[in-house]
Amino acid sequence: MKKLSARRRHPLAAVVVLLLALAATGGLYAAFAPAGKAQADDSAQSLTIKEGKKLYEVGCASCHGTGGQGSSDGPSLVGVGAAAVDFQVGTGRMPAATSQGAQVPRKKVVYNQTQIDQLATYIASLGAGPNVPTKEQYGPGGADIAKGGELFRTNCAQCHNFTGKGGALTKGKFAPSLEGVAPKHIYEAMQTGPQNMPSFPDTTLSSKNKKDIIAYLNAVNGDKTENPGGLELGGLGPVSEGLFAWIFGLGALITVAVWVAARTAKAKKS
């Protein structure tokens, strides 16, 4: 210590301190600076973004604006995230046939999954938003079906019906049927809240909860759902049951009555 304090006033001391400070700053920077590797790996992603942008300019820009900023015909896409794109384009809702009408319906999917991914990556590059969920997030593993049912009845059934058969909203809008919708898309819909649907981000409905709901839907409204008791009659409740009772129940009985009444004992000889 003595040595150091003795040379404190040396003419070159300032130079040495400066050098040491520079070395420390540089070293810290080298240690904490983002890896240069990311830049090198980006070529693939930037290519995807480029492809996505191309697709976007052809299929989407006329309504959503050339830079995704939106127009009078379509909302801004900045910050909607890849999940929203994957849902809207993956279920055929986008590109929409028209910006008019109550609601954009589900229809035939125009793009293949690679193209959808490219579009999604491009839109995600415009601003941060929810990512496309992984299979682990929406897959059936570790899901609690009963809990999902309870969550579904609490959060979803008031628009989508008990088992997701869909229902009416105001002025021609509707909550669509969830039959045959891919688990990934259901997850994304909850995450992003498309059209008239409220969004359920992870802060409201955790990733596990979403998994439970999807598992419940798969159990009660999937391809392998068993229907105890026979024909479901649309699963719409008492209205279709009443119609069935009148047409096939009373209808059949009246037919039988006409048949019985027509077969009278021929004892009219007296």
Binding site: A146, A157, E241, A257, V260
Partner: protein, 545 residues
């Protein structure tokens, strides 16, 4: 009457066992005379007379399957955790009522089929009663002496509605719980006493722990007991009045033309019971009804779209759905007109059809008995009013299912609701006018047929080149059938001045009656049926027209 026969010694040993049993029973119960008097009771044959049978048989089926269900159902609101065989509900908390209904559906042998037969039979029972009631209405079978029986039938329909409502509320599932909540809301909307009534019914705050047990007693004991009594009374009166019949040769107000109860009708009715049971069982085996497992247990914080009542309560749902949500807030109290007005209209819709027979008999002033049925066309005003009522009822059903109309026909639910609002007022009026016109048209056609015969479709060319269609005169039987109906004259207000020149006071009710009577029976409201003279004049001439 049989004691004398028993005392005479028999030469050939004892009588056959069957005869001895019959004798034994007759000596104590007097069956023989009862059977003798009633076995040959005559019933006329028409398919529409069997609608009442459909109701009776489905009622019996409901009682039988209902007894089976009571063996396994626990009418309790105690909370339990589900551990049965339906996976998507495992571990969920639910009332014992819901739990035991799941148990019946999945773990009791034949339980689900019994539940489904019970529920389908209930829907068909109510539909049958509705159709039966309309048959009686449109044929004028409610006229003297059957007004009381009409009221019995009406009460059966209304009690059936409430028995059904209390029944489908028992499983305590999310759908029916929403229905009970709806009812609670309607009760709460009653000014002043609403909250008291609600607390009385539910034993405190909704839903409480009492309502399933209370509904259970009402559903399995109180209402069906009254209904069974009414049904027996209904049948006794049918026996006592004898059945009505359509007009035809040989049929008068003083006879019944048809087949005897035994053996023909016993066989027919017995067979028909099994056919009804078969049809209902087949439907119950093929089509699901009220899948409570899909709806989940009731929790007041949950609700599903498409929450409608069973069809017979659907018109109340319609009333509430199309009513604007008006309310009045005064001095810290709320009068919820949006719910209270529908609650007031609900009984009025039903009472309107119930009191009709009394209104009609007052208008006609007819005190004679009627056993010959009207053809609906021959009572255009009545038929028009009936169709108007049915239009109102159907409009309300459409309103009750407005969301399904919207989704299935790609309409706006607002548009459907507005349609119902307008149709509620306009529909019945239009239906009345159109129906009356159709009836008058059909009456003209009958008149034409009587006077000019049936169009044969044969075109004949006369020697001078004219083409005519050959009309074939009707048979005597057909002529009778088409002209058998009675036509009323419009009632007139008697002389306003009596023989002494003193002015008589004409009451408003008398004036109203005269007005209604002329609306019913004036020249605009019925086509005079052809008289014998008219018929003779036309048929005596040569050629046609």
């Amino acid at each position: 009457m049989s004691t004398a026969a028993n005392e005479t010694p028999r030469s050939r040993g004892k009588a056959p066992a069957g005869e001895r049993i019959a004798d034994w029973a007759d000596g104590r119960l007097g069956i023989y005379s009862l059977a003798k008097a009633n076995m040959r009771k005559i019933f006329p044959d028409h398919w529409s007379f069997m609608l009442g049978e459909v109701c009776m048989y489905s009622f019996i089926i409901i009682i039988l399957t209902g007894v089976y269900l009571t063996l396994f159902f626990h009418p309790s609101m105690n909370e339990v955790q589900y551990h049965g065989s339906y996976v998507p509900l495992q571990g969920q908390l639910m009332s014992e009522a819901f739990n035991s209904t799941l148990h019946i559906s999945f773990d009791v042998r034949g339980g689900l089929l019994m539940r489904q037969i019970h529920h389908w039979a209930a829907l068909i029972f109510l539909a049958g009663m509705f159709a039966h009631m309309m048959r009686v209405f449109f044929t004028g079978a409610f006229r003297k002496p059957r007004e009381v029986n009409w009221l019995f039938g009406f009460l059966l329909f209304v009690l059936g509605m409430f028995t059904g409502f209390t029944g489908y509320s028992l499983p305590d599932d999310l759908l029916s719980g929403t229905g009970v909540r709806f009812m609670e809301g309607a009760i709460l909307s009653v000014p002043i006493v609403g909250t008291y009534l609600s607390f009385f019914l539910f034993g405190g705050e909704f839903p409480g722990h009492d309502f399933v047990a209370r509904f259970y007693s009402i559903h399995i004991l109180l209402l069906p007991g009254i209904m069974l009594g009414l049904m027996v009374g209904h049948l006794i009166l049918v026996f006592y009045h004898k059945h009505t019949q359509f007009a035809g040769p040989g049929k008068t107000e003083k006879n019944v033309v048809g087949m005897p109860l035994l053996p023909v009708y016993m066989a027919k009715a017995g067979g028909f019971f099994f056919l009804v049971f078969g049809v209902i069982a087949a439907i119950a085996a093929v089509a699901q009804i009220n899948p409570i497992w899909a709806m989940g247990p009731y929790r007041p914080d949950q609700v599903s779209t498409g929450a409608q009542p069973d069809w017979y309560m659907g018109f109340s749902e319609g009333l509430i759905r199309f009513m604007p949500g008006w309310e009045i807030n005064l001095w810290g109290h709320t009068l919820v007109l949006g719910v209270f007005i529908p609650l007031v209209i609900f009984p009025l819709v039903l009472v309107a059809i119930a009191v009709y027979p009394f209104i009609e008999s007052w208008v006609t002033g007819d005190k004679s008995e009627h056993h010959i049925l009207d053809r609906p066309r021959n009572a255009p005003t009545r038929t028009g009013l009936g169709v108007a009522w049915m239009t109102l009822y159907l409009t309300l059903l459409v309103g009750g299912g407005n969301d399904l109309w919207a989704t299935h026909f790609h309409l706006s639910i607002n548009a459907v609701t507005w349609f119902v609002r307008i149709a509620f007022f306009v529909g019945p009026v239009l239906a009345f006018i159109v129906t009356k016109r159709i009836c008058l048209g059909l009456q003209r056609r009958d008149r034409e047929k009587v006077l000019h015969g049936r169009e044969t479709g044969i075109i004949k060319r006369l020697p001078h080149g004219e083409f005519i269609e050959v009309h074939e005169p009707l048979s005597q039987e057909q002529l009778h059938t088409l002209t058998a109906h009675h036509q009323y004259e419009p009632a007139e207000i008697g002389p306003v001045v009596d023989e002494n020149g003193v002015e008589r006071k004409v009451g408003t009710s008398e004036k109203l009656r005269a007005k209604l009577s002329s609306a019913y029976y004036s020249e605009d409201s019925q086509i005079p049926k052809p008289t014998v003279d008219e018929y003779k004049e036309i048929t005596s001439g040569h050629g046609h027209h």
